[in-house]
Amino acid sequence: MKLTDDEKAMLDGAEGKARQKALEFLIRYGTALGAERLVDTNNVGGYMIADRAGYQKFGGSFDALFSLTGLDSEEPIELPKVKAFSCQFETDMDPEYCKIEGKDEEDYKRFRANEKWLSKIGVTLMCTCTPYLVGNVPVKGEHCAWMESSAVVYINSVLGARTNCEGNASTTAAMLTGKIPYWGFHTDEHRRGTHRIQVEVPVKGLMEWGLLGYYIGKQVGEKVPVVDGIHVLPSRDDLKQFGAATASSGGVEMYHIPGITADAHTLEEAFGGRTGIVELKYGPAERKWAYEQLNLIGTDKNVDFVMFGCPHNSIQQVEEIVKLLEGKHIKDGSHMWVLVPHTIKDLATRNGYTKIIEDAGAVLMSDTCPALGHLMPKGTKVMATNSAKQAHYLPSMMGIEAWYGTTEDCVNAAITGRWEGELK
């Protein structure tokens, strides 16, 4: 790889051992990719939360643990302050709800120690999969190094930022060096559309955007779909759901909806002169297929757990749930979790939403999600969710059944304990 003078100096150890190891790692990784150089970044989103086993194995040393998993270094190195603006994505628990999550005092202490260590090295504790809902909103063209597939596809597509779907080690190395391989979605060429999807049915609302995303992800895998035929402007939260779905059934990191998303005003701009475009359509049969796939693992209509907020809910989504829930109570023995970034929980509390949710017997939880934390209410057998991503992942990960539907279907299931959702 071709290195700049400041990169060569860092590689020679001029800025200490941690940054040297981090740059060495980025070069190994960049070489694997086939990248020719690195690019500067001042916006990194990563994950440095110790799990219980890792924390115990390294005697509570975050430096030792993240030297291994973050820098690929067997030798423990004390991590200095990060060089790039860095934020922590969602974590494996909400420290305020240890008991409900099945966590104990030891988990609580570990989590608090981890927070302290992250803030010491200068990582901003956003603790959400949606940093773009709470102030980290990259501008068009900004080179970023983010992990979390749903966030990557959102900032690339909707905002026009430039990031690949990074992982634990590359984001740790990017935080310390302010560098990331210049490859993939950092370049114009990679961002051009490969598939045109002609949408022939109306797509409106969160559930429909989840179905469309699930179908497209399955069809295009890692490629760059261009969605044509959208006549109703989607909300930010619709696009958040859509991207997360494409990145679950497939590996979509970038899409275009010409005139709506950031990179392209027209179909021509979206394809950027690329030829050999694959043509697909999304009509009633494709919509039905997606709905059936997402409800494939559900047979028992008795729902005991309802979850909202994958990706994390915006304040608008919390407000919608509160409207459906106000003055009602969820069924005895059932559980309902509403997941948000902590900053949005503060806002919800200030507006009285937290109280309405709690009075209904549900919980407004922050910082985590069931899939990431392997968290569920004890004894859960059947879940309902409005999230295509969780409906895709949770049955495999947790051995439960799942129903996918509208926000209203899910709130009703929490209140009655019965799944009544259907494709209308």
Binding site: F25, R28, Y29, A32, L33, G34, Y47, T69, D72, M147, E148, S149, V152, N164, C165, E166, G167, N168, A169, S170, W183, G184, G221, E222, A247, S248, G250, G251, E253, Q293, L296, I297, A371, Y393, P395, S396, M397
Partner: protein
């Protein structure tokens, strides 16, 4: 015994051999495998329930969440990583995964390995020289 040799580009160096485990479907890391056992757990995947530990894993590429490399690294630390990997589609998940798995890895092979190699074939990967030697199962 019929032997076939393929040539490709080194992603991560080293030599290893083992029985092939082949899939035409992309693999999810986070939520798709159990790192403690090296098993595919994605319910809708054709390799559901199969273990790749110590095998030469042949697949189109990595899909799904960005936790891909993290869980494959956990599989390595648990001693359950593949012996080598051969894949077609490059992306950051697989490049980063290959870097932290520390197993020989090749891509851009001169023939599609998913069509040439069958599960159970014996495969020798020399990533430093960019070669794959396949001994077909009887």
């Amino acid at each position: 015994m019929k032997k076939i040799v393929l040539h490709g580009r080194k992603v991560y160096g080293g030599c290893a051999e083992g029985e092939a485990l082949v899939t035409k479907e992309m693999i999810s890391g986070w939520g798709g495998i159990d790192p403690a056992t090296g098993t595919i757990i994605e319910l809708r995947h054709e390799l559901h329930g199969k273990s790749f530990a110590g095998k030469v894993l042949v697949f189109p590429g990595a899909k799904g969440s960005s936790g891909w490399s993290g869980v494959f690294q956990a599989a390595r630390l648990a001693g359950k990583a593949p012996a080598a990997i051969l894949f077609n589609e490059m992306n950051t998940k697989i490049a980063l995964g290959a870097t932290v798995i520390h197993a020989p890895a090749l891509t851009e092979l001169d023939q599609n390995p998913i069509e040439i190699i069958r599960t159970g074939d014996w495969v020798k990967v020399d990533a430093d020289n960019g070669t794959v030697e396949i001994t077909k199962k009887e």
